[in-house]
Amino acid sequence: MHVQLTLLMVLMGMTSAIAADEKSMTELFHKYDMIMDQKKVEFIDEVFSGRFLRESGGKKQLVEKINELAPMAPKSGPEISWRKGLKGEVYFARFRERAHIKSKTTENEGSEFIVIKENGKLKIDGTISDGD
């Protein structure tokens, strides 16, 4: 009985760990959407890794580029799929984007986001071109 309870607790712990990653990933991209769609730049430090901000030329440059983006109507939720990478603590997330190019609306199956854990929190560390 004791063993069964212990096993049950371990399983529940694992389930909550997986659920936390799913929840954390959804939260991360929800904030990402708010930055990109609604210019809520106060979330930048929560969404992007320190390395990404450095390699992008700094927060100021990033904010300028965000503000130049055409505003988009807020969505009900981010449409992403993600998986854990095989090597190291890295995740890959894929986004479906409706890109407005002049009067044409095209669906662009974009590259993958690289997501890492920074101080225990999921952060976007960049993107990488679709490899195939």
Binding site: L69, G126, T127
Partner: protein, 270 residues
């Protein structure tokens, strides 16, 4: 004296041309004993031991199968190393279908316009005899007669390191073969696409990022060096030719210049 210099240069070029030349001199003009003078541009290629996934299935081919170079950008910062791209690609596979290693055969580091880092560098990625993974998973292209012959001879085989390698007919359909088998990928490490919701590291539309002359020249020299060694390599294409993608960003607008630069080095590409 002229003869001695010519002989030394000829010896040097025979040692360096087409090989992983670590300490070759910059491009001299060489007079070959039995041919006309032609410019020989050495492309220093860094060769390193990149990690591979021993559980990955991959295919081997004679390099003579290759007729096309496909140009990519990594969509990462330009300061990323080939090793880091390799790590990402190792990580990107799934447990059921792991990636062997970096998908491209060569990676080019080159500074963006107006910057001086990273230092320009060409690094070998996936060996040429190993089929890459960069030109669309299921995209089929026609085989020419030589490629068909190599396929029929059973020279293209697939398997896992340490295990048996076999012909896998799923890679062809009639006289067409998956594009990865007849192409090699060259990636320019950097992000040449505009900033967007799916590309938060892209350039501002107010100041588009185009490949510098140095980057174009590196692509031209490397491509030419490959054609000199493997004369069947006659085409230069781009990632989005095979697959809907923004890759290779603005580099696509410079393919004509790259081919023109290659012509200066004595190579012609379609």
């Amino acid at each position: 004296m002229k003869h001695i210099i010519g002989l030394v240069l000829t010896l040097l070029s025979s040692l360096c041309f087409g090989e992983d030349c670590v300490s070759c001199p910059p491009g001299p003009t060489v007079t070959r004993p039995n041919g006309p003078t032609w410019p020989v541009e050495f492309t220093r290629i860094r060769r390193i031991n990149l990690e591979r996934n021993p559980n990955a299935t991959f295919c081997r081919r004679p390099v003579e199968m290759v007729d096309t170079i496909v140009i990519h950008h990594s969509e990462t910062p330009s300061t990323h190393t080939t090793e880091r791209i390799n790590d990402f690609h190792l990580s990107r596979g799934t447990a059921a279908d792991p990636w062997l290693m970096i998908a491209y055969s060569y990676a080019i580091n080159s500074p963006y316009p107006g910057t001086s880092t990273p230092q320009s560098l060409v690094t070998e990625g996936r060996p040429l005899e190993i089929v890459g993974s960069h030109a669309g998973t299921g995209i089929l292209v026609p085989m020419n007669r030589d490629q068909q012959r190599l396929w029929n001879q059973g020279r293209i085989v697939c398997g896992r390191e340490g295990g048996p390698f076999r012909v896998d007919p799923s890679h062809i359909s009639g006289d067409r073969i998956k594009a990865n088998f007849t192409t090699i990928g060259i990636v320019v490490i950097g992000n040449y696409s505009p900033f967007s919701r799916s590309n938060p590291n892209g350039f501002s539309p107010r100041s588009p990022r185009n490949p510098t002359r140095e980057t174009q020249d590196l692509l031209a020299r490397l491509s030419c060096q490959l054609q000199k060694k493997y004369p069947g390599i006659r085409n230069i294409k781009w990632h989005s030719f095979y697959h809907p993608t923004s890759c290779p960003g603005t580099i696509i607008n410079y393919l004509g210049q790259i081919k023109a630069l290659a012509r200066n080095y004595g190579c012609t590409f379609n």
